[in-house]
Symmetry: C2
Subunit: 492 residues, 2 copies
């Protein structure tokens, strides 16, 4: 096996990089911080996108597309938002290259093709979208607007990691406009719920739903809701956010509507998004030292069938039996691959599909067929079992469901074990260093304490959980009174 | 009706703009030359994308994603390609904005955040992709690579038109790598065939398949295949291209593979693409002065059902009957909308759905139900007929198929009538001015004559049709000998 990867215990971070590269999910590119999403990785992203897209449409949303460029004057209109993203903006300043007179065959930026106004490559689209909504909204009859966009965005991060933090990434961003504050908040909460359901039911990723502190809020939002997940190294990962934007963008872009009483009012806004970052969460939450472990519901290949030939004369019988199994699985909607390629041995194939996280592997040899059975291996537990060929497809489908459930429960138990209630500052630091995970502790509610804790421990407040228990306590750092615990963690 | 649009006879170009805006397909944006694709337009594009995506996958392709930025040094590696696109490149030169000290609340490009190497916003992705393929290809076993990408691209056009020519547009670009020239040419031809089939069977748009002259070839290609369609004003529109790239990119990026004889060889390449430009073709090929006419197979709403209430007491009966029809149609996979909104009158709704090109409209009133019928109007011919409610959904489905066919045949007849064989220079000019359409004429095969004809008439050679009849003749302009006719036209 040339494809060995660093083990998690040796170097978790290196394990992740090795895995992403060797399982064929993504590749580095010639552009600093930008990745190439390889076909296998993109197939998983397509599955995620299709499921989410259906969930958005089922909740009344439609897709649209807005320009990738935002003129600087629009970008700066909502000041907090602009300030929050200014430091990581790629900026287009010219619209033409020309032959470089000093370097034959080379090009240079044509200084005469300088734009009058610079264009920001969107890091997020509130500005261009609210500038557009201004033209779409006159009356309460034009509301709500429930639009989503699938797009690429660019944020010039200094330290990048495949999927987790890249200069360009793919995402969806919902941007809705409402007549009332209540309706906008309901929308914000509804989309958080959609994200949580997607993470848990499809990605098998347990999440905590909560709201961000003011410090951690989206720039330009009045409230940021989030789902937070836990990776195997005990670090948290923000897996999705849903923002209640108040009237901030409506005021910045002067978007008003005439209400039923014929009076103008500012429009209320939300925005919400998840990105290819979820790919990183998917990898880190479930996989092991042999490769990916993918939840069956999102796996591009759910079952792989590997024939074990014994001489060329065994091929016709094995192939014909294999095709029966493949047909039955396909008919039931299972994504199945029959790998009869002759340029690698079964053992190599087994390792390859383990690396790629295919949930179920079926091996089929002559003797198996004679005995009316097949050897079935599940990727999550690596258990093998012999299954009768009779009724095999139903059993495999049940097994896929069991694997989906098992991966989720394993991650859930790990996550729950990794939430530690702490009431003492020394213990707070010790738990972060020795156990990691979420630390549930009282906090006095001030940004100063939050900052100080971050400075001392690198832990941030991941969220104030929704429906949090209210209990009197003392801030773990300042000792000042507190009414509830919040979740701290070091995070991706 | 506030939504009237300019008629085609009055001003075809204005008709197109009015129609795109008023039917809700697209909108102008605050960014020069960039459009907003509105939800109704995007829904059509999604339908097109999904059909094409399936056709690509059925022919063995997979999707991937490559960075939007191309470092200048990579961009210029394939010289012809670079030269062809240099004049229309948006260029990122800086990666940060900062507060403008002279303008409180405003931002400016931070001069200290200048990139060492400028980044070109992709106008097409051959360069970044072939630079990546270099790392993926070592041996003949790594070939072919059959990858497609759905993405946005930017070409800084000076004169833009919604969908037809915009600075940013959405497209797909296939980029394949092959061991042999023959295999690459077969791929190029296969994808042209896929495009032609999509245009004719889904868009109801007849196309001529052909190859481009050297002058009109994609920059960096050895051969460009194309499909050419005709719009109602007699102008041609290039609807898709498939390029045989030879070894040009393999040589520029030094991409070789070791063949079965263990010798290194350069890889052969193709690329092929269609874009949101197809939306413009779809609009211009079929629509009329009352609005869009959409082929049923791509229409976001295929059947709209409008209840004609007569007082509130009629509502329960009509609604219940309507729901029966809707359920039956949905069960059969028809995209149906029941518009019972009470903020507009039936007449207004009729006009609105005509504007939006909904292929079939069903109106249902009390008296209709008493008589066991509904009034059915088809958008393409505007004919109305009374249909029995019994078995209505089957009849509507048949009607949708008939409309799809009728739209295609109408466009086909128009296109065929608009191909004029011409052997005389005076007549050539006259036909272009008075009749327009394709002019089928002999050409001496030289770029000089092609240039001259373009200069004098604004007509270009749209293509040399595939399987063209070979016949001796004289060039319509130079009188020099020619072996075949080619198609000239003024074009979008």
């Amino acid at each position: 096996m040339s494809k060995e990867i660093t083990s998690r215990s040796e170097d978790y971070s290196q394990w992740y990089n090795d895995l992403v590269l060797k399982s064929g999910l993504a590749d580095y590119s010639a552009v600093r911080g930008c990745m190439v999403i390889k076909p296998y990785g993109y197939a998983i992203w397509e599955n995620m996108r299709d499921v989410l897209d259906k969930m958005f449409k089922d909740t009344g949303h439609v897709n649209a597309y807005f320009p990738i460029f935002i003129p600087k004057s629009l970008f700066e209109a909502e000041e907090k938002n602009a300030e929050g993203f200014a430091k990581e903006c790629a900026v287009v300043t010219h619209y033409r290259l020309k032959t470089d007179p000093d370097n034959p065959g080379k090009l240079m930026v044509d200084p005469e093709a300088k734009l009058e106004e610079e264009l920001v490559v969107r890091p997020t689209s509130e500005a261009i979208i609210w500038n557009t909504y201004k033209g779409w909204i006159q009356s309460y009859r034009d509301l709500p607007i429930l639009v989503n966009q699938w797009a690429n965005v660019v944020r010039w991060e200094m330290r990048t990691r495949l999927f987790l933090r890249t200069a360009e990434f793919l995402w969806q961003e919902g941007h809705t406009a409402h007549a009332t504050k209540e309706e906008a908040i309901t929308e914000t909460e509804q989309m958080l719920e959609v994200y949580a359901r997607f993470a848990e039911e499809w990605m098998a990723l347990p999440v905590v739903k909560g709201i961000k502190t003011a410090n951690e809020r989206f720039a330009g939002a009045d409230e940021t809701y989030c789902i937070e997940a836990l990776m195997q190294d005990g670090k948290a990962l923000q897996a999705g956010t849903s923002h209640f934007l108040g009237q901030n963008f409506a005021k910045a872009f002067d978007v008003t509507y005439v209400n039923r009483e014929n009076k103008p009012e500012y429009v209320w806004a939300t925005s919400w998004g998840v990105s290819t970052r979820l790919m990183g969460a998917l990898v880190m939450a479930h996989s092991d030292d042999d490769g990916l472990i993918l939840p069956p519901k999102l796996a591009p290949i759910q079952v792989v069938l590997v024939p074990i030939y014994k001489g060329p004369e065994s091929k016709p019988l094995i192939d014909s039996k294999a095709q029966e199994i493949v047909s039955a699985l396909k008919a039931a909607g299972v994504k199945v691959k029959f790998d009869d390629s002759d340029n690698s041995r079964p053992g190599w194939k087994f390792a390859e599909y383990e690396m790629k996280g295919v949930p179920v592997r079926v091996a089929l040899g002559l003797r198996d067929i004679e005995q009316g059975v097949a050897e079935v291996a599940r990727r999550d537990t690596k258990e093998k079992q012999t299954m009768p060929l009779e009724g095999l497809s139903e059993k495999l489908i049940a097994l896929l469901e069991e694997i989906q459930q098992n991966i989720y429960l394993k991650a859930l138990q790990f996550r729950n074990d990794q939430i530690t209630a702490v009431d003492d500052w020394a213990q707070f630091q010790q738990v972060l260093d020795e156990k990691a995970g979420f630390v549930s502790a009282h906090w006095d509610g001030t940004p100063e304490t939050e900052e100080k804790i971050k400075e001392l421990t690198k832990a941030t407040i991941r969220c104030i959980p929704l429906n949090n228990t209210q209990e009197a306590g003392k801030c773990v750092y300042s000792g000042n009174p507190s009414s509830q615990r919040v979740l701290f963690a070091r995070a991706y």
